[in-house]
């Protein structure tokens, strides 16, 4: 019998498999336990959380694209206190593994505030710091587009938590490897990438942008080649583990992303069109591994290099 081993190790914690639903595509996880046992997942990246509650952007927030979509939700969330007091207890009832807290902020202090609180939560295994947010103290420029601001957030968060910190990078930069290096040098324990690509659609009937906020984040199957390329580049640039994401929809995609250099893999937009996507990928992985003669999934990390 052909035995397959799906386990991967993410900063000292073993995942039964590398598949993690990406932040913003799976709510706070417990909602999805209505349709299947979410304990089969490697972990869950929770909905992006900010210090204060946010309604987010005006609607329409969604536009369809070929093989993908654009969203401009605008970090709608109930705020970190309600996430910890209301949402995490609901997740804990149906999910026995550790989750990934996804943290956003509009100033370094906000990232620090949320990180300090999540640090105390046993059900959180990793912090994922979304640095694609605009910095209100820097003219609204995203933290993720410069090495110095990415480094500043990383250092500040690292100083208030003992949990592994993954910095989630924006792909909307000229040199992703230098940003990843800056995060590593500032103490990041890992890198998550890619966040969405800035995109836009115009309704040719009205001549106006489809999304109320005009532009948004492009995700879905169409972006996978960009994601694979960037994971490959970052793997060459840093020694810390990578969580790869962007357009992952199948078990083959997971394997491709791991060969590029990912230790774990997140599934994002695909969850929105197929709520069973992660379950199907996990069930397909042993078959696809067998087809390609892979016995131990962790052996293929970075194989393309």
């Amino acid at each position: 019998m052909f035995e397959t081993d799906l386990k991967v190790n993410l900063c000292g914690t073993e995942l039964t498999n590398p598949v993690i639903p990406a932040s913003g595509t799976f709510g706070f996880g417990y909602e999805m336990s209505e349709i299947y046992d979410i304990n089969i997942l490697g972990s869950i990246a929770l909905k992006g959380t900010t210090k204060e509650a946010r309604f987010g952007n005006p609607t329409p927030r969604i536009a369809e694209c070929r093989e993908g979509m654009i969203n401009s939700v605008g970090l709608q969330n109930p705020g970190v206190h309600e996430v910890i007091n209301e949402e995490l207890p609901k997740l804990k009832k149906v999910f026995s593994k550790k989750a990934v807290a996804n943290i956003s902020g509009f100033s370094v202090d906000e990232y620090v505030y949320c990180s300090r609180l999540f640090d105390k939560e046993d059900s959180i295994g990793w912090l994922e710091i979304n640095i694609s947010c605009p910095n209100v103290h820097d003219g609204g420029m995203s933290f993720g587009v410069s090495e110095s601001s990415a480094a500043e957030v990383t250092k500040a968060v690292k100083s208030v938590t003992s949990k592994p910190v993954f910095v989630k990078l924006s792909p909307n930069v000229t040199d992703i490897a230098s940003i990843a290096r800056a995060c590593e040098q500032s103490g990041a324990d890992g890198i998550s990438l890619i966040n969405t690509l800035m995109g836009m659609r115009i309704d040719i009937k009205t001549g106006k942008p489809v999304i109320a906020n005009k532009m948004g984040g492009f995700s879905g199957r169409a972006i996978k080649p960009v994601a694979v390329r960037m994971v490959y580049q970052v793997y060459e640039a840093v020694k810390i583990p990578i969580i790869g994401m962007g357009g992952v929809a199948t078990a083959e995609d997971v394997i491709e992303m791991m060969m590029a250099g990912a230790t774990a893999v997140q599934v994002g937009a695909e969850n929105l069109v197929n709520p069973y996507a992660c379950k199907q990928i996990i069930e397909d992985l042993p078959k696809v591994m067998k087809k390609y003669g892979i016995t131990k999934l962790s052996d293929i990390i970075g194989r393309a290099h």
């Binding site: 349709i35 309604f55 939700v73």
Partner: protein, 242 residues
């Protein structure tokens, strides 16, 4: 929510650009009128959410207007074709609040969900009046079906080519205990302002997932932020913020 493969048993035109599609499959998750199904269409990324017009033990029927690429492709599908469908989405209408003489009001493609609702209200022994609003006579559909089950059906057309000339609100001169409404937002608001009773209003918004995961279709209400797809599409009059 349930995912299933459904077979098309009927896909026929009711007017120039409105079609009726019946799908055969596991409909056990469809519990109430006012809920919707979310249809995956080959070659398009997002599913297409469409409200339930009618259901039986084994079938669900939707009525849809061709407005874009997705519904255009749906209009070309044939009986026997298979579709991947999520069923049992949305909160649906609550018939327990209706009193004994509710009015159900639908405008354009807001008419379909009122049919299953009217059936439910009638099965509970209520006296149901339906007001169905269209732009012109050639766009009217499902009139006979409503006439078979409702105590009274009033048609309104904007151009006066059939029934009462004007909008659905021009036909509201009678006694009713409760209002149910689905249609364009301007119509919902006009009904909200004109009706004296409480009521339930079914809203539309561009959706990502249709099952509450992405926050794409959020709205503010007096009872807090809600997702049109999961906490709606039906909101009670008292919570609506325009």
């Amino acid at each position: 929510m349930k995912q299933g493969i459904f077979e098309i048993t009927e896909n026929s035109a009711l007017t120039e650009n409105v079609l009726k599609m019946t799908l055969s499959g596991d409909v056990s998750e469809i519990k109430k009128s006012g809920q919707f199904i979310n249809i995956s269409i080959e070659g398009l990324f997002l599913r297409r959410p469409i409200s339930v017009y009618d259901k039986t033990d084994k079938t669900v029927t939707v009525i849809y207007k061709v407005v874009g690429e997705g519904t255009e492709r749906m209009s070309k599908m044939k009986p026997g074709d298979k579709l991947d469908v999520l069923t049992g989405l949305g909160n649906g209408f609550d018939t327990s609040l209706s009193g004994d003489k509710p009015v159900v009001i639908g405008g354009g493609v807001g008419v379909p969900p009122m049919y299953l609702l009217a059936k439910e209200l009638k099965s509970e022994g209520k006296q149901v009046t339906a007001i169905l609003g269209f732009n012109r006579e050639s766009e009217i559909f499902a009139r006979e079906e409503f006439e078979k089950i409702c105590d009274k059906v009033i048609i309104t057309t904007v151009d006066g080519s059939c029934g009462v000339k004007g909008f659905v609100t021009d036909a509201l001169g009678f006694d009713y205990t409760y209002t149910y409404c689905c249609g364009p937002e301007a119509m919902l608001k006009a009904v909200y302002n004109k009706t004296v009773t409480s009521g339930q209003y079914s809203f539309e918004e561009r959706m990502g997932c249709g099952f509450g995961a992405c926050m794409g279709c959020s709205c503010k209400t007096k009872y807090g932020n809600k997702r049109i797809c999961k906490d709606g599409p039906v909101l009670v009059k008292e919570e609506i913020i325009w």
